[in-house]
Amino acid sequence: MGNWERLVWNQRELLLDGFLVTLHVCALAFAAAILGGLALCLVRMHVRPLRPLATLLVEFFRATPIFVQLMWVNYVWPELFGWPNSFFTAGWVALALQSSGYLAETFRAGIEAVPRGQREAGEAVGMGPALVMARIVLPQVALSSAPAIVNQFTVIVKSSTLVSVITVQDLMFQSQKLVNVWYEPIEILTATAAIYIAFVFAVSACGKRLSDALRRRFGIGSG
């Protein structure tokens, strides 16, 4: 047990710092993915001239491996667009791209599932298209997409381990740094793997409970 104490417990501050960076990256990526996914989906459905572009972006984000996207954003975007200008930004932007593609498709399915009559009813009582979207369509989409949104968050957490490759100092980065200092990978890497597995498990368990509770409370047929 001495090894565990020396290599893991005594390094808890470093590992905790790393974990906080992981949380930070994931939170930014998650927020950006939801906004980006919504934007891509709305453009694809309602802005006719931009539809092919939005479709292409969704397909590209979905069909390109996350590691490739990360390297692409990190090495190519700064030359192409002069942005992002830090590894941290490149990390969460790349994570957000992939998930925004998946979420755009989820949102689209959710929007298409809202019966036409409901929109027409909204328009009949004098609501504008934006108000119909905000008050009638999107709340139902949020409800029906909740499980997929939670799932995307776990995907982001899992993929976030890769940002250590571009030297973002997340949990994975700190643990590999410790391995390089001590040359004793067993305890450090096992503990790191356990932390990630427990965190992803907790996120998906809580997320499932939350989306079930939402559905019971607000879902059609909940009375």
């Binding site: 491996p65 590691f67 190519v76 667009f81 590999q176 597995i197």
Partner: protein
């Protein structure tokens, strides 16, 4: 500056110059993919059978397998299998063991995706009406015969669309094996970038090549799944 950079990134001739290196790298992605897909499907079926077993210890073991590997990030598993597993095995067997990067890649991806496959198999197995199993027993089939002749044909039929989608995800995941020096396409790109100092066309070329492969595969899967569903539901 922007237009010049754009022209440079669209000008993929540098990537084309290295096409043989790049394609032989892509071949490594396919090798890792084929080997780890086989491992994932076999292990996944094993874990699913454990999860639906009658004895509690088997069920616990199966659930542990699924929850561990389904929730583990690919990258940490890859690093763990490559750097920790050989030490543990070596200590247990009393000798020095090292894994070839290719073997580590196959074991790690095989384990992670076996967690996903186990759930797909389990859903398929549990969807089979009890009466089918009882009918099999009634005509004197052994458990193995029931599994092979009654359960599996229905499971495969039901899980095919999802199983194929998971294969596509697995192929995407093979890009990270470059991080433990399996010489796949991403590894070649980083090596060539180190000598040419031109990441722009090289990484763009790699992204487009992967996109073409994955998009074509995903589209085929979508088409096949639609047809398959129509045939099954008809």
């Amino acid at each position: 500056m922007f237009s010049q950079a754009l022209r440079e990134s669209v000008d993929l001739s540098l990537f084309w110059d290295y096409r043989e290196v790049m394609l032989s790298g892509l071949a490594f992605n396919f090798h890792v993919f084929a080997a780890s897909a086989t491992a994932a499907i076999v292990l996944g079926l094993g874990a699913a059978l454990l999860r639906v077993a009658r004895a509690l210890p088997f069920r616990v073991l199966g659930t542990l397998h699924v929850e561990t590997f389904r929730n583990a990030p690919d990258y940490i598993m890859l690093v763990w299998v490559h750097f920790v597993l050989p030490l543990l095995l070596g200590a247990a067997l009393g000798m020095r063991i090292e894994f070839h990067p290719f073997a580590s890649a196959v074991i790690a991806l095989g384990l992670v995706y076996s967690g996903y496959y186990a759930e797909t198999f389990r859903a398929g197995i549990q969807a089979i009406p009890r009466g089918h199993l009882e009918a099999g027993r009634a005509c004197g089939m052994s458990e193995l015969q029931i599994l092979w002749r009654i359960v599996m044909p229905q499971v495969v039929r039901r899980m095919l669309p999802e199983g194929l989608n998971q294969l596509v995800s697995l192929f995407k995941a093979t890009t990270i094996v470059s991080l433990i020096t399996v010489p796949d396409l991403m590894y070649r790109v980083s090596m060539v970038t180190a000598t040419e100092m031109k990441p722009l066309p090289l990484y763009t070329g790699a992204a487009l090549l992967y996109f073409a492969v994955v998009w074509a595969a995903a589209s085929l899967v979508r088409l096949a799944s639609e047809r398959w569903r129509q045939r099954i539901l008809a």
